[in-house]
């Protein structure tokens, strides 16, 4: 077969959103690739310049449908840095518990999409079902299913509901049991291993150079987790290990995310049992001083950074959002070239694409 360019996207089952991957194939082998993003650009950075600081929290939720809590939390971290506001200790623990629940929910959604990409409908259904457990917990906590609007400057919106500790401990036990079953389901499947091992290799140097962050970076053998290495919130008081793997292929990325879910269960357990008593919300200032604030957290997809410039009014002068997926996608050609068309879904699925945050 002759060489040809194929547009995978903007409407394609592989894309999980609205972006376009142009690949040049020779037969079934990829010889060139070129991602194109921007189909979902909503101008959130410009939009935020016209809203007050409080009003941006629900908008920051809309950055990513899979992990909205991480983004509103990131925004609150950035603005707290700008305001110089201390967060209440109880609120920090509630935040950490909620964030890790969000991380598990996000990873389960990734697992669902990944399984569906590889053709296993059963993985999709099982993961989405188990995600529901954590979505229900977050719904009881914040009052909404997907876009929580939960963190506030210096605290959180609500106290934990009654029985929350019991329910979250139960959910963690259930999740660990289910994770073992997933490992049986995926790693016990010869087909899964055939599709994943040695596919989409990303070397350590390339991963660091191309700005790949989060689970994909840790799968390439770099042990760097912002929760551990630049702790923000109360992560330094909790006991956990960032998951790493040295291979840098699709299986490593899968494994890192699975291990992260175990670690998240551990963190949730510690957070809900160690939670101190006290207030969970304070009066937040209306106007921010002149200056800059930087928030930098470990999003489920990588390193999320927000940079807020305040000018003394109640609206931010400039809000810059660093999306981990936006940078990770630019490294896609490095992973794709040399593999087959069928590997595109495994490689791009393994990166956990979320176009809402990438295009902003």
């Amino acid at each position: 077969m002759a060489e040809m360019w194929i547009n995978m996207g903007p409407q394609h089952p592989m894309t999980h959103g609205l972006w376009n991957l142009r690949i040049k194939v020779d037969g079934e082998t990829i010889i060139d690739a070129e991602p194109e993003v921007g189909y979902l650009h909503r101008g959130i950075e410009k939009l935020c310049e016209g809203k007050t600081y409080t009003q941006i929290i629900p908008i920051a939720d809309r950055l990513c449908y899979g992990a909205s809590l991480s983004w509103s939390h990131l925004y609150c971290v950035a603005v707290e840095d700008l305001l110089g506001l201390e967060v209440l200790p109880r609120a920090e623990y509630i935040r950490v518990a909620a964030l890790e629940m969000q991380r598990i929910a996000s990873h389960l959604m990734w697992l669902a999409a990944y399984a569906a990409d590889l053709g296993a409908m059963i993985g999709f259904i099982y993961s989405m079902r188990d995600r529901e457990v954590f979505i229900d917990l977050l719904q009881a906590l914040s009052g909404s299913r997907i876009t929580y609007n939960f963190p506030r400057f210096g605290g959180v919106a609500h106290d934990i509901p009654p029985n929350f500790e019991r329910d979250s401990l139960r959910a963690c036990d259930y999740m660990e049991k289910r994770l073992k079953e997933y490992e049986d389901l995926y790693e016990g499947s010869k087909v899964f291993m055939l599709r994943n091992e040695g596919v989409g290799l990303l070397k350590k140097e390339d991963a660091m150079n191309l700005g790949v962050t989060g689970p994909s970076l840790r799968a390439s053998g770099v042990r760097y987790d912002l929760r551990k290495d630049m702790p923000y919130s109360v992560y330094q008081e909790l006991d956990f290990e960032p998951a790493t793997h040295k291979d840098g292929d699709c299986y490593a990325r899968f494994k890192v995310r699975m291990d992260e879910m175990y670690e998240s269960c551990k963190i949730i357990r510690q957070a809900v049992t160690k939670m101190p008593k006290g207030k969970w919300r304070t009066l937040a200032p209306r106007n921010a001083p002149e200056g800059t604030g930087l928030g930098r957290v470990e999003d489920p997809r990588g390193e999320g950074v927000m940079y807020v410039v305040g000018d003394g009014t109640d609206r931010p002068y400039r809000l810059k959002i660093r999306s981990p997926i936006f940078v990770t996608v630019s490294a896609a050609p490095k992973m794709l070239i040399g593999y087959k068309i069928a590997d595109v879904v495994a490689i791009m699925g393994g990166l956990d694409m979320c176009i809402g945050e990438s295009d902003r």
């Binding site: 590889l118 296993a120 409908m121 259904i125 087959k340 069928a342 590997d343």
Partner: protein, 375 residues
């Protein structure tokens, strides 16, 4: 009494009813066309004519049964999937019969959709590909009898289509041709890749499939359904040829293009593969055909390895045959819903490097059994 005799009797009775008119006309209008009416009546009642119409009636009956079976298959597939995935499956349409009418509703929906022919397709190929696919599958169906009495026969002593299994496999193997036509004529890169993959895959899986069938032929000494099934009177071939059965089921899954081997329509990377450009009822035909082929495959596996219609006579033979075919289908579906899709180079590796030697080994085992004189 077999199905032919039954149809023959009914046609004969109908012809007799009508012939009263011809002979009455011949009696009362002798001066105009008397001879002609008498001749027409004699022709209608002749053996050849009635036999022809009886065979047509048989074909219609078998076709209707097959279509009802396809509806059943889709329903079973969905319910089975729901059982495995812990949800209900079809539920509301036909609530009292377990959602069975959902497939009919889907069919009606597909039927009333607009039939779109994209502007830049090759019109002839685009139109003819579904026709070839459906007709070849239905023809393969016509050769399969449900019991020694229920099938498409040509006389009351007949044993079905001569060398029926060979013909069934011949029709079964036409499909890649039509898929290649569909993929090429749709003028789309995805369909083209899908068609090419389909051709490569079917070509490489046809050989182990037929080698397994050859081992059965070797043991039974017959090419026809009745001969093969009667040879399994004492022991089903699945026991001596267990290896062959496994290889056969695997190849069947690849032939029918279901989950671990559904590369030609791989949803995630090729959108819908070679069916991407087909919409509405044409897509419905493709979907129905895939289940039809699943049914044919299940029936073939039943006849070849599972003793056909043989079983304790608590229930009629025909139902034994259907139950076994459904079981084979369920096994295939189990593979389908719990497996992932395999890559194109790996599928060819498995076909040529694993299944082919296993099929050869199976043939060797069959030959050994035959040489020992056990069969």
């Amino acid at each position: 009494m077999n199905l032919f005799e039954f149809c023959y009797g009914i046609i004969h009775w109908l012809v007799d009813l009508v012939n009263h008119l011809w002979y009455w006309l011949g009696d009362h209008l002798p001066w105009v066309f008397g001879d002609f009416f008498n001749w027409a009546g004699d022709l209608a009642v002749s053996h050849g004519n009635i036999a022809l119409f009886a065979i047509l009636a048989e074909a219609v009956i078998m076709f209707v049964i097959a279509l009802v079976n396809v509806l059943n298959f889709i329903w079973i597939d969905r319910k089975w999937m729901g059982r495995m995935f812990d949800f209900y499956g079809p539920y509301y349409v036909g609530y009292r019969i377990g959602g069975w009418l959902q497939n009919l509703a889907d069919g009606i929906k597909l039927f009333v959709k607009e039939i779109i022919t994209p502007a830049k397709v090759d019109k002839l190929g685009f139109l003819i590909a579904p026709v070839i696919l459906v007709s070849s599958s239905v023809l393969a169906l016509s050769t399969i009898p449900f019991s020694p009495r229920f099938g498409v026969f040509t006389s009351d002593l007949d044993t079905g289509v001569p060398a029926g299994l060979l013909i069934a496999f011949a029709f079964f193997a036409i499909a890649p041709f039509s898929i290649l036509i569909a993929g090429w004529s749709s003028n789309n890169k995805y369909t083209l890749i899908g068609g090419m993959r389909s051709a490569a895959q079917m070509m490489s899986y046809e050989i182990p499939l037929l080698l397994c069938v050859a081992s059965v032929f070797l043991l039974s000494g017959s090419f026809g359904f009745l001969g093969v099934v009667n040879a399994q009177h004492d022991i089903w071939f699945v026991i001596p040829l267990f290896l062959g059965f496994i290889v056969f089921i695997t190849c069947l899954a690849a032939e029918v293009e279901i989950q671990p081997f559904d590369l030609p329509e791989a949803e995630a990377e090729l959108v819908e593969g070679w069916t991407t450009e087909y919409g509405g009822f044409r897509f419905g035909l493709f979907m129905m055909t895939s289940y039809l082929r699943g049914y044919v495959g299940g029936a073939l596996a039943t006849a070849l390895f599972l003793g056909g219609w043989q079983g304790p006579s608590i229930i009629p033979d025909e139902f034994w045959f259907l139950i076994k075919a459904y079981l084979v289908f369920l096994i295939i579906e189990w593979m389908r819903w719990s497996n992932m899709r395999i890559r194109v180079d790996q599928i060819l590796n498995i076909g040529w490097k694993r299944l082919m030697p296993l099929a050869m080994l199976n043939l060797l085992i069959a030959a050994a059994f035959k040489t020992m004189g056990w069969f």
